[in-house]
């Protein structure tokens, strides 16, 4: 006898019924833009391996109006990902020091501070 697990029917737009479901879906949807940007970076490495001419055309493409619009949209979703990711860190990785729980605000704050530092390093490394 073959296995026939019961699959409950899910409405495609269930997440529109409540604001908190919409914000949940907004957070989850960031992954699509993270993935698309990884694809853009993959293309960049391929072009880099093909030599100067290919690289220059890649830089021209990401600097073109469609390239900028695409990346600004990705930037918006990337920031939503960062903020939502950092805000759940006290729940995802609760910390205790000498038996005392570290206040959630301290854990979140430390992540924001690190975010600022890492962003600065990226900007300096890329040569502002």
């Amino acid at each position: 006898m073959s296995r026939r697990p019961y699959v409950r029917k899910i409405e495609r737009n269930w997440w529109l019924s409540q604001p908190r479901y919409v914000s949940y879906m907004l957070r989850e949807s960031t992954c699509l833009f993270i993935a698309l940007y990884s694809a853009l970076l993959t293309d960049g490495l391929i072009r880099l391996s093909q030599g100067q001419e290919a690289w220059d055309s890649y830089v021209a493409a990401i600097s073109s109006p469609p390239g900028v619009v695409f990346q600004v949209i990705c930037l918006g979703f990337a920031v939503i990902h960062s903020v939502t990711w950092f805000n759940v860190t006290p729940k995802a990785m609760p910390l205790a020091l000498k038996g005392e729980p570290v206040p959630p605000k301290v854990i979140v704050g430390a992540h924001y501070a690190l975010w600022a530092a890492v962003s600065l390093v990226v900007l300096i490394a890329a040569g502002v």
Partner: protein
């Protein structure tokens, strides 16, 4: 002991989610705004030189592979949330696209 593939999928999700949260906005700021506005430049010699160095190769692979793996895992769970199920096809599209990017990047980096 119960066997689960969850830890194997969770580690890249957590590491990738953190990498994407920490690094991706700054990278997008560079490639999507500062370079197009002419405030920054990505000259071939400099970037190719960075990619020539083994540590540079690892950094370049990491900033694309970790977020890609994170996104793959989240896409899979979101597909499930949208009623697309959790079958082989969904896994293939989500994890397969991430691994395709990683393989293409490794090949490209090894040729630099």
């Amino acid at each position: 002991m119960a066997k689960s593939s969850k830890p194997i999928l969770w580690l890249p999700f957590a590491a990738g989610g953190m990498a994407a949260a920490m690094i991706t906005p700054a990278l997008l700021l560079v490639t999507g705004l500062l370079v197009p506005l002419g405030l920054m430049h990505l000259p071939y010699d400099k970037i190719a030189g960075f990619a020539h160095n083994p540590i540079g190769k690892l950094i370049l692979l990491g900033i694309l592979a970790l977020p890609a793996l994170h996104a793959a895992h989240r896409m899979r769970t979101t597909a499930h949330d949208l009623g697309l199920g959790a079958g082989f096809g969904v896994k293939l599209v989500c994890y397969g696209s991430a691994w395709l990017m990683i393989i293409l990047s490794v090949v490209a980096l090894l040729r630099i």
